[in-house]
Symmetry: C2
Subunit: 533 residues, 2 copies
């Protein structure tokens, strides 16, 4: 059995059942054994940033890693931006990078490069598997690392000869020899229980009468963590926030509508106010995404004490439940939510009239189907979405965790592979869409049930705001032209259809709601170009 | 004067007159001062791989660096594959990467990453400029490094605060204060003269009567080097070859038609035969691009002595001329070419009938206009191009120097910015085209005179060959489907027009020649989808 087949079997045996790939010559043995391991679903991407972003979306939705298959250093490099986002989201991911045969590297062939140097900034674990004899062990350890606490991107470099040489079947052992039917050798992420001393200290601080805020992040943003945090807030008056860019967050009808911290520092400062205690639950202390002249980088209010209730390796939802119990927060989740947030937010009515950020957000809130997954890279056009979708049908929200744009369409692609029975909605800014637009082809090829809305404002809208905020002079016409996407305007309908995804254009709120309803009613991918210019 | 303006002025003063960019918030001060430095032409790309590939094309055609402007680690990562190609081509390039403000980095904001680790594998020179006081010096040194011997990618990291703080005008000094009118402080690449001892040894070896071959690479592939090498070959009987993937090579009518070494090792072995001496002139010893079971990596014939006449830091064209003189090769270049290659190759007649690799290549050879620049990423469909264009109108050929696909369209874009009076022709495989298809938008926006031919065979053709060559079993339907681009087929006409580039489809050789003639007759970008399925 070739090394590549051992690798595939060990991955599949340990619950890795999808591989998002863009292979080359050095990966041909991996490709050639795909037929022998039907438990692994291979998904072809036309660009590596699509493969890595899709693996991120898959991992966020399943809690188990997908694999990638990338072609040497340059193929890896093309996937790094979305691996950066996966790293920030804490997604489990087994990042397989093909390499030249071990004995071939010294010849410095054209595609030779320093893969380790490229991979390390985005990898929580890195190994180049040097011998076919160890490939089973290395594959299992990659899955184990990806599913560690915290989960991470585990990069496994696979030289061509390690892939093509025959492995001793004994090296597989229990790791993969039994096929995919048995229980996985590598368990899911095992989070540490809450720390009692920190629990007690947080409870005292938050119950001291001084104003406090709790920021939820990571795995605390499921319904369980949000409900427990809401009970704490109802009991103590602490403010509740979600981190600004959650990897995944449960939202919509029945989930307490906790607000995310804002993008701009001024907004975060207004949200936090004069708190004396800040409690972090799977979240990091708030910082400004960028430095700006004469504005703070650190957004923790002056004099505020910061306490970590649960770090990324701890069970943050359990910690919130333990905190609620310790504080005697005995209201039901529903009663607590009403006390903290008032009446549950309503689903918006379908909007009418011109299309703008307000009617766009209302349309999403109004027609979102039950159990949807939203991949949100709407950027400036999406600033009203949180309010408009708080009372929408129940859904999962995936956000731009590492702020590296070009995530939204790949992420939706991977989420749809992970969740074939759930509608997936990608809300995508026009500028960001063009980074990884090739994702549409994979959606068409795989028949994925993804609805993409392109928010077309004909500009890098965020940069028009930032050009002023950084204190730069407004710039003359040359500077402004660098933020302008309207010469030429991209015809996203033609672009989408060129890759096999049916598309339509929406000029009014009615157009958009109608197009969304049609798309949700039909299987397969669809795209709507929403004109917001 | 802000640091960013000092940077722009020093770059422009030293002959950097184009900047291919995809900026973000941390680069807004650079953008805001563009109006103040009209000697710098900013060119916006929708994806960083387009920006870096275009800077490579610009540098290959001018011999002077263009700048890039990329957004932190993830923006750099998106550009790395084409920086890898630029590195292999020996292109001068000033790669400017924006970074967080120096004091902001410790907060590990979402876009923070290890830029040095990402940049080093593709950078011959790397510096993060830590203070506005040194930005003028750092910018000049970046240009000096880019134009070193050999030329390289010089990466200059520019923190946001270094960009926005005021620089002491005295720090600029002669580096940029005088504007762009004066002579550049940094001269062009200064290559070392030929080494006399090596010249003599090479002359003895090549004139020993034992079979010899000379491989030309790098800057020896201009007409001057090729002509001198041809004189040497006429005098000694040595075989002549070009390296397999030249950064730039002069070809067509009047240039001796030297053959490139092939892609596959078996072909190279047949080309070299049983030579006893191999002379490298700005080229590296031939190696297989990949390892294959039971095939050699090292393609130097067994027992053959390898001698370097000129390395990448030496003047390889001058070395060839000196070698010709030393050997008393006194035939004229024209007479020598006739002796070595026979009658000059003819321009092919315009082909008719079905479109296939043969008629495609003939069409290019037949209609190529005078003084064109060809960016060749045709991959498998282009294997007959060298023969068909040897007798075409005089042109420059730019090839896939680092084998990282997705180079062709960006490279053509940058070449067109560099050479506004020359027609540029991009020959592009369908699979490779989709890596950096966003280049079309920049071509439309800038009105560049680029003709793109998409060679549509509906597959990763090279991988269908490689799947067999690596010794992988042919693979079943799943394996083969990973190399198949026909489900769905991409409509490149719609795709091109969606980004503002007029396009047409060619089903026959007549269609293609007619479409090419029309495109060459009209200004601005055009695309032809050539159906080879």
């Amino acid at each position: 059995m070739k090394g590549a087949e051992v690798l595939l079997r060990v991955l599949a045996r340990n619950g890795v059942h999808a591989c998002f790939m863009n292979p080359g010559t050095s990966e041909m043995h991996f490709v050639s054994v795909l037929d022998a391991v039907p438990e692994m679903r291979p998904v072809l991407a036309l660009f590596e940033g699509v493969a890595t972003g899709a693996a991120d979306g898959y991992g966020r939705m399943t809690g188990r890693p997908a694999a990638t298959l990338l072609h040497l250093g340059p193929g890896l490099a093309n996937g790094i931006a979305n691996l950066h986002n996966a790293r920030r989201a804490g997604t489990p991911l087994v990042n397989v990078v093909g390499d030249h045969a071990t004995y071939h590297k010294r010849f410095d062939a054209p595609l030779e490069s320093d893969i380790a140097s490229l991979a390390r900034p985005v990898s929580g674990w890195y190994r180049s598997t040097g011998r076919t004899a160890t490939i089973a062990r290395d594959a299992e350890e990659a899955v184990r690392a990806a599913l560690g606490a915290p989960a991470c991107v585990a990069t496994l470099v696979l030289p061509a000869d390690v892939s093509w040489l025959d492995a001793d079947p004994a090296s597989i052992g229990a790791r993969g020899g039994a096929g995919a039917a048995g229980p996985a050798a590598v368990p899911g992420t095992q989070l540490a229980p809450p720390d009692e001393a920190r629990l007690a200290a947080v409870a005292r601080a938050i119950d001291s009468g001084a104003p406090a805020a709790i920021v939820l992040g990571g795995l605390s943003l499921g319904e369980r963590g949000i409900a427990a945090a809401t009970r704490v807030a109802a009991r103590t008056g602490a403010k509740l926030f979600a981190e600004p860019f959650p990897g995944r967050m449960e939202r919509g009808a029945g989930v307490p509508p906790i607000e995310r911290l804002g993008y701009f520092g001024e907004f975060v400062q207004a949200q936090l106010g004069d708190i004396a205690h800040l409690v972090l639950v799977g979240a990091r202390a708030p910082v400004s995404p960028f430095a700006y002249p004469d504005k703070p980088s650190d957004l923790v209010p002056r004099g505020c004490e910061v306490r970590v209730l649960a770090g990324p390796s701890e069970d943050s939802a359990a910690a919130l439940e333990a905190l609620a119990d310790l504080l005697g927060a005995d209201a039901s989740a529903k009663a607590a939510a009403e006390e903290v947030f008032g009446s549950p937010p309503a689903r918006p009515d379908p909007p009418s009239g011109p299309l703008n950020p307000h009617s766009f957000a209302a349309a999403i809130g109004a027609v979102l189907p039950e159990n949807a997954v939203i991949s949100d890279e709407a950027i400036t056009s999406g600033f009203l979405l949180p309010g408009a979708t708080a009372g929408a049908a129940r859904h999962d929200l995936l956000t731009l965790s590492g702020n590296a744009i070009g995530q939204g369409l790949p992420l939706a692609t991977g989420a749809a592979v992970a969740c074939p029975d759930r509608p997936v909605l990608a809300l995508e800014a026009d500028g960001s869409a063009m980074y990884t637009i090739q994702a549409l082809w994979t959606q068409a090829r795989e028949g994925l049930d993804v609805t993409t809305v392109i928010l077309d404002n004909g500009s890098y809208g965020i940069l028009n705001i930032e050009l002023g905020r950084v204190g730069a002079e407004a710039g003359g016409p040359v500077a402004r032209s660098m933020l302008d996407l309207s010469h030429p305007l991209t015809d996203f309908v033609a672009l989408s259809e060129s890759m096999g995804v049916p598309a339509t254009r929406a000029h009014t709120a009615e157009d958009l709601t109608e197009a969304l309803r049609r798309s949700f009613a039909e299987d397969g991918p669809h795209l709507v170009q929403a004109i917001l210019r």
